[in-house]
Amino acid sequence: MNNKPSHCPSADMLVEFAAGTLDTAESICVSAHLHFCPHCRGTLHRLEQIGSHFMEKNCEAVSPRPTQTSVLENQETLLESVMAKIDAAGIDEPAQTTSPKGQFPPLVNKLIAATYEKLNWRRLSKSVDVAGLKTGQNKFEVALHRICAGGKTPKHDHRGLEYTVVLKGSFSDEKSVYKEGDFLLRQPGDTHQPMGAQNGECICLSAQSAPIKLQSFFGSMLNSWLRIRPS
């Protein structure tokens, strides 16, 4: 038994991530998973090699190495301009990477810091709290969900896509147990009833493209009030 995540994004999602064509909200979820998953990080590095190959081959095919004097002169000018910018005050220092401190992957910490001074939890049900995150896109609602220890969430279906990455603790549903770093995708028709682990609260990052659909009779009356709030 190891601590590595066992539920990972699909290979073609990693391809889109490596090529930089994945949506912002989906990229946030993949990135949070990569923080926990050395396996996918290895795959990602190999997928990035494909990109570098295309960059190299494309240059040979589209524009052969510059030999014309005008092209070379232009390149010389460009180099001079870059050197001038580098020589300009301050830029010579190696870039510092500062990431806000926190308990989650750096990207999530940064999102939290950009959204609130403190997380603003609101009650969703008896055992689930939610805190929305601002991500600057409008396709998905990105949020943190917190399930209390042993908490039962309402049984629900999905009207759109729902990505979940476990950031802390674990939860389970009818199919499996999901622990730190696990990446899940739920689609319309996937009904489940997540339950928090007994030994502590569980915090998940989630991205939803449409509100969930509650299954119970009482819940079904509430469905028309459920909204997602992308930000």
């Binding site: 990972c8 290979a11 391809v15 889109e16 494309n58």
Partner: protein, 220 residues
């Protein structure tokens, strides 16, 4: 200043390793990795100029192939400048054990290209820069998972042998910046076909370690 000679010793070991590699493409790419390492450790402007001459045309053609909405030719040279400035600033973070210089510079170019697009199309404040998505955790990824040295040249060979229809899709995704959905719309193919061609290509290139399939439940 004591640490610099030590790093130089390490650098020269890498050089001799690089020379012992077989295959001209490996040797060629290692030359760039050495120059980039030199920029990172010694802040050598001479090495940087050599890198610039090699990579500026590559970055420019990468920019030219962009089919993103809102991309226009005037941005091509901006991208070259922005990427090369980042290369100078971030060179100390380059680790030749993990990636070749070309792969590393590709990732910088990819990130800069998306950031330039996002800045253009967004008026609201964006909390994240593209670099944030590729933050490597402190815990080192085991070197065995990179298999960098041998795999890069092997990958080049297997990529060049891919069937045309698989190659075309990867080209659209990596160079033109198309998502799988956009690719499927453009080629008039079902999304499932695009995804399965991508997966077939990855299997042919042995990019997915087979054991991953057994151990992990991939979300499809």
């Amino acid at each position: 200043m004591m640490h610099i000679p030590l790093k130089q010793v390490k650098l020269s070991t890498q050089m001799s390793e690089a020379i012992s590699e077989v295959g001209s493409s490996t040797r060629r790419s290692d030359q760039w990795s050495q120059l980039l390492t030199d920029v990172g450790i010694n802040r050598s402007k001479e090495s940087f100029a050599k890198l610039f001459k090699h990579y500026a045309p590559l970055i420019k053609s990468f920019a030219q192939s962009s089919k993103h909405e809102g991309w226009f030719p005037g941005l091509n040279e901006d991208l070259v400048q922005e990427v090369m400035i980042k290369v100078w600033q971030k060179a100390s973070g380059f680790n030749p054990e993990k990636a070749s210089a070309t792969t590393w510079i590709y990732t910088v170019a990819r990130n800069c290209r998306i950031d330039m697009l996002r800045r253009k199309s967004n008026t609201q404040h964006l909390p994240l820069e593209n670099e944030d998505y590729w933050h490597e955790p402190d815990e080192e990824t085991p070197a065995s998972l990179f298999q960098q040295k041998r795999s890069e040249s092997k990958l080049q060979v297997s990529l060049s042998k891919l069937p045309k229809e698989q190659n075309e899709i990867l080209r659209k995704v990596y160079l033109e910046g198309k998502s799988h959905a956009e690719t499927s719309a453009e080629l008039g193919l079902p999304l499932g076909t695009v995804k399965s061609r991508v997966r077939l290509a990855l299997q042919k290139m042995q990019i997915l370690v087979p054991s991953e399939y057994q151990e992990n439940d991939y979300n499809e």
